[in-house]
Every structure is written in structure tokens, then in C-alpha cells.
């Protein structure tokens, strides 16, 4: 029944002499939360960068639905329905929370470019409401007029998540969405991501925190030194001796 929404095929990427990704394959099914784990420097972030067009791979292809993403510019990839949360939150610090979320909503509605100098922002009620709802979803609705730059680190991550969610992307890529968060905030983020999952949004998530990974992931891919060493359900991965060795160092899961 399941169909593949994201297909990464035989991707290679070398930086100077360093082989960041070598012959990586990744298939993500529709509606699934797919975690990519691995030790530092395993190539996880590079893999996401390849998906969103930040890095062009030396070899191989990335296909989302029926569109080839490799070689496309980031804004075109986003317009196809791929949104990304970065490892360090990329938000608009000088704008208010509401504006921060209205902008991606506008991108969804208006496309990559629209020149409308005579339309007033205040008349964009739908966009505004949508942005408010999404901010409510992530628990930031109380400070619509606050400047995003003044938020705490955890709240910035939540804001960035809201900025992605408001676009209802077909695929959401999350790069360590809970890094640097307190346990309490981490749990709130897990709850939030679980709620999104119920809406059928496909997610690829990079995460170090095994608590997060095993609470959310339906499938896990393990990367080490740029290659996929194992893929499967959480239980399969947990039991795999290669994973124990490469990543977990024999740590008890």
C-alpha cells in the first residue's frame, strides 16, 4: 500500500578529500516519520542539504514525488513541497512572530515571486489567521507582536517549525529539532511532532537524542562515515550489532 515519497539514489558527495556521502540510498514512505541517525560527521546534515538543494551531489539523484530535486534551486524545491528546519534556527530576527509565519504562508499562496505593492498586508486576513493558528499549534500565540530575535533558543526552534508547518509541506525535514532544549521543551516538541504525524505529514528527522528518535520514528536509517550501514524499524535497528558497534559503542538502549 505504501508509496515512496522521497527517493535518494546512489548519492555521492566529496568535500576536498573527504567523502561525506558515498553511495547513499534512502527511501521515505508517504506519511512516515523516518529518522536518520549516526555519529557526528556521519553525513546526516549533508544528506539533508542535498535534499533541499543547498548542496549538489557529485553523483546520484534525489526524487520527491515525481520531481527530480537534484540541481534545483532551494526556492523551487520548497515550492514543490519540501520544507526544512535547520540545525541553528533560520528565522527573521528583526520581524515579529506573526510576520515570521505570514511570510512562508505568503510563499505558499503567491509562489516564488509576486509584485503586489498596492495590496495591503492588513487585508490578508486568511494568511493572518492561518499564521495565528499555526503559532497556537506550537504554543507561541501569546506573543504575536514580539520580535523573533528576542525569543529563547528553544522558542526560536518552535517558531521555525511553525514557519514550515504553515506551508503544509508534503515533506518536512528536521535537523535536530530538539538540540539544546530542556527535557520539558523536548517533550513538548515530541508531542507536537506526534500531532503532526496524525495529519499524515511525512518527516525526515535527524536526531541525536535516542529518546526522541524512539518516540517518533517509524523507520530508522543509520549512517556512519557517509554510508548507510543499516535500515529498518526501530526494533530492528536497536538489535543490529553493526549499529551497536558503529554508533552506540555498545551503549545500552
Amino acid at each position: 500500500m505504501s508509496n515512496t515519497i522521497l527517493k535518494v539514489t546512489n548519492v555521492d558527495k566529496t568535500f576536498g578529500g573527504l567523502r561525506a556521502l558515498s553511495n547513499v540510498n534512502l527511501h521515505v514512505e508517504q506519511g512516515v516519520t523516518h529518522a536518520v541517525i549516526g555519529p557526528n560527521g556521519a553525513g546526516k546534515s549533508t544528506l539533508l542539504n542535498v535534499c533541499v538543494g543547498r548542496i549538489t551531489p557529485d553523483n546520484g539523484s534525489v526524487v520527491f514525488k515525481d520531481e527530480i530535486l537534484t540541481g534545483k534551486e532551494p526556492h523551487r524545491i520548497n515550492q514543490l513541497g519540501v520544507a526544512r528546519v535547520f540545525q541553528t534556527p533560520e528565522i527573521f530576527p528583526e520581524l515579529t512572530l506573526l510576520q515570521n509565519v505570514m511570510i512562508p504562508a505568503l510563499a505558499k499562496r503567491e509562489g516564488a515571486f509576486r509584485f503586489n505593492p498596492f495590496r495591503s498586508l492588513l487585508s490578508q486576513h486568511e494568511i493572518r489567521d492561518e499564521a495565528c493558528h499555526t503559532l497556537e499549534d506550537v504554543g507561541l500565540a501569546d506573543h504575536l507582536a514580539m520580535l523573533a530575535g528576542t525569543l529563547s533558543r528553544g522558542d526560536k526552534r518552535r517558531l521555525e517549525l511553525a514557519m514550515c508547518l504553515v506551508q503544509h509541506p508534503g515533506l518536512l525535514l528536521l535537523d535536530e529539532p530538539t538540540a539544546g532544549m530542556s527535557r520539558h521543551d523536548t517533550n513538548r516538541t515530541i508531542d507536537l511532532l506526534q500531532r503532526i504525524k496524525e495529519r499524515g505529514m511525512t518527516k525526515v528527522i535527524i536526531e541525536h537524542d535516542m529518546h526522541v528518535v524512539f518516540s517518533l520514528a517509524d523507520r530508522i536509517t543509520v549512517l556512519a562515515q557517509g554510508t548507510v550501514i543499516c535500515e529498518g524499524t526501530p526494533d530492528e535497528v536497536r538489535g543490529d550489532p553493526r549499529v551497536q558497534e558503529a554508533y552506540l559503542g555498545g551503549a545500552h538502549l
Binding site: E73, H75, E90
Partner: protein, 377 residues
């Protein structure tokens, strides 16, 4: 966030229109109520508003905006020479040609951002300036500057009436564009320019420009193609400068290459920063102050100062005049420089930030609780 509401904007626009149209009255006490200077206020106001759309909204620091001012002037004078002394075709020509130049320079310069963009625009500006002096002499008339001549064809005018004996004057369907009528023509265009800028500030387009300033990486991963946005606003900004340039020619029909020099480009940067980049009114304020300094402060001389300080005893008077005269007359730029430094150091948001702080202070004194969220236009 938006303390701006349609109603507030309407009030602001109404006040602005009233202020511009009554300018000859309220500038009288500061001695600036002569048409020449008033025209300059309006013209450089337009220039600064346009520059602010680029620099204030997107943060792209163009160091070559005077090119568009110069191009606007040349195009307008050519329109006077070839077609008609009517100012409308001249203004249209000025705006169009400036837009064209902006498209070319923008296309090339906008490949880079930050300091590289600034240097590229500066390089193009200096190139245009030098070309205007050298190889383009047939078009620009080199050092002499482009001037009207009796023998100019003026095709459209010739169709309706015979050439005058003397040099013709610029006019709007017979109304001569010198003195106060010239000022009011500029004032009307200033109001239109301000209105358009206000609409851009309040539009989704304007919000996206501010987002580009804030985080361009996020913009592209949010699905926006930032290049066409930058191109559009660069061209609009260039057209504003072209409009200002053509108005310079309307009020005084000659054009010289010095209008394109980098000091002229720097001046509009100063105006915008002094008043407050990214605010609606700030750049206008900056333009007004700089033009006021340039024209009024520079005209103060020693005898005027002696009169002003005549109440002091002789010896003291000489000392005071000696010190003050450093800052006026030839030294007006010293005053301007100090004022600019003070503003940048203490009010990074320009004079508008100063007003906002004072406003917040008064509001707090009145016990209206905490200061309102400051306006981010």
C-alpha cells in the same frame, strides 16, 4: 506588531500632504522659504525616499545611486532639446531611462550582496561618471554640461508654435516651471512618491523585502526567489532617482556629469541614515536637513555672526565668532559631519529613533503604562 492601521496611514498621509503644500509658510522662520531651496527639498526628498526603498527595506547598500539621478537629468534635458519644453515627456523620459540603467546595473550588481554589492554599484557609478566626461561627450557635452540651445529641434513644440527669440523655459502646458509653480510641481510628485512608498511598505511585497534584509537564506528555503524581488526594488529605486534627476532638470534645464559623482551617491546614503533608514519619514527629514545645511549654514559669514553675537563684549565676541565660524560658511560640512556622527553613535536608527524614544518617554511620564510597542513600519 502593526501599530500602523489604514486609518493611521490615512492621517499620516493627510498631514504629509498638508505639510508639503504649506512648506513655503512654515519654512519662513528658518529662512528657507525661497523656491530654489524648496524645490531642492522636494527633489532630494524623492531621491531619498527611493533610496530608502532599496536600502531601508532590503539592506542592500548602493553606493552608486547618483548615476540614476544623472541619467534622469540627461534624459530630461534631451527631451527638452528634441521634443518639447513641456515637462511631462521630460519626466517620463528621465524615469524610463533611469529604470533602464537600473535594470542593467542591478542585473550585474545584484549577483553579490553586502560589501561586494556596494563596491560594484560604486564601480558602475564611477564608470558612468567618467564616461560622461569622456567618450560620451556627444551625448553629455562633457565638462560644459548639457544645455539648451535656440537651435534645438523641439519637434513637438515646433508643430504648434514658432520658436521664441530667446531660450525657451520649461513649462507644463504653458505654466512656467520656475519659482513657486516649479516647487508645486515637484511637491505633487513628492506626494505621489511618498504615497507609493507607503503602499510598498505596507504590502506583502514590502514585508518580503524586509525579510530579505533579515535572513536571505531563510527566504530562499521558504520558497521565494529573491533575485526578482531585488531586481524589482532596485529598478523602482532607480526610477525614483531618475524622477528626482529629471526634476532637477525641470527646475534648471542643464545636466552635468558631476551629478553622478560618488559624493552625490554618498549624500543620499547620509540623508537616509541621518533621518532613519527603513522608516517612512526619516529619509525625507534627512534630505531636508542636509539640503538646509548646504544652503543656509553655508551662507552664514563673519559679519552675520558678529551681528548675531553683538550682545557679547568685544573680546569675547571675537573669540565666539572665531569658533562658531569654523562650523558655518565654508565649514558647514563640519557641522553636518559632527551631527551625523552623533546620530550614528547615539541613535543608530536615525532621527526617527530619537523621536520615537522621546515619544515613548512622554507616554511613560503621562503614566500610560509601559511604552507602546514601537512602530516597525
Amino acid at each position: 506588531m502593526e501599530t500602523s492601521s489604514p486609518r493611521r496611514d490615512l492621517i499620516m498621509l493627510a498631514i504629509f500632504i498638508a505639510a508639503v503644500l504649506t512648506m513655503p509658510l512654515w519654512t519662513a522662520p528658518i529662512g528657507a522659504n525661497y523656491p530654489d531651496l524648496l524645490q531642492k527639498f522636494a527633489i532630494f526628498g524623492i531621491f531619498a525616499i527611493g533610496y530608502n526603498l532599496l536600502f531601508g527595506l532590503t539592506g542592500y547598500l548602493s553606493f552608486g545611486h547618483a548615476v540614476f539621478l544623472g541619467v534622469g537629468s540627461y534624459a530630461a534635458v534631451w527631451s527638452f532639446k528634441l521634443f518639447s519644453m513641456n515637462v511631462l515627456p521630460a519626466v517620463v523620459m528621465g524615469v524610463l531611462f533611469a529604470g533602464l540603467f537600473a535594470a542593467v546595473i542591478g542585473y550585474l550588481s545584484l549577483r553579490r550582496s553586502g560589501i561586494y554589492f556596494a563596491i560594484l554599484t560604486l564601480a558602475f557609478a564611477q564608470m558612468c561618471y567618467n564616461l560622461a566626461y569622456s567618450v560620451l561627450t556627444p551625448i553629455t557635452n562633457g565638462e560644459t554640461g548639457l544645455q539648451l540651445a535656440r537651435a534645438d529641434p523641439r519637434i513637438l513644440d515646433r508643430m504648434f508654435f514658432e520658436a521664441d527669440v530667446g531660450l525657451p523655459l520649461t513649462n507644463l502646458f504653458g505654466m512656467e516651471m520656475q519659482g513657486y509653480s516649479g516647487f508645486y510641481f515637484c511637491a505633487v510628485l513628492l506626494i505621489l512618491a511618498f504615497f507609493l512608498s507607503m503602499r510598498i511598505f505596507r504590502s506583502p511585497f514590502g514585508l518580503k523585502l524586509r525579510a530579505i534584509k533579515s535572513n536571505q537564506v531563510r527566504m530562499s528555503y521558504t520558497g521565494f526567489h529573491t533575485r526578482p524581488y531585488m531586481m524589482t526594488v532596485f529598478i523602482i529605486s532607480g526610477m525614483y532617482a531618475g524622477l528626482a534627476g529629471s526634476l532637477l532638470a525641470v527646475t534648471d534645464p542643464l545636466a552635468g556629469a558631476e551629478r553622478m559623482q560618488w559624493t552625490a551617491s554618498g549624500e543620499v546614503v547620509l540623508m537616509t541614515i541621518l533621518g532613519g533608514a527603513g522608516t517612512l519619514i526619516g529619509p525625507l527629514l534627512g534630505a531636508g536637513i542636509i539640503k538646509y545645511f548646504e544652503n543656509i549654514f553655508s551662507s552664514f559669514n563673519d559679519s552675520l555672526l558678529h551681528n548675531a553675537f553683538s550682545f557679547l563684549p568685544d573680546g569675547v565676541q571675537d573669540v565666539v565668532v572665531g569658533i562658531v565660524s569654523l562650523f558655518v560658511g565654508e565649514g558647514w560640512q563640519l557641522t553636518l559631519g559632527i551631527a551625523f556622527m552623533l546620530v550614528v553613535i547615539f541613535l543608530p536608527g536615525g532621527l526617527m529613533e530619537g523621536f520615537r524614544r522621546i515619544g515613548a518617554l512622554i507616554a511613560r511620564r503621562r503614566g500610560r503604562g509601559p511604552a507602546e510597542e514601537v512602530e516597525r513600519p
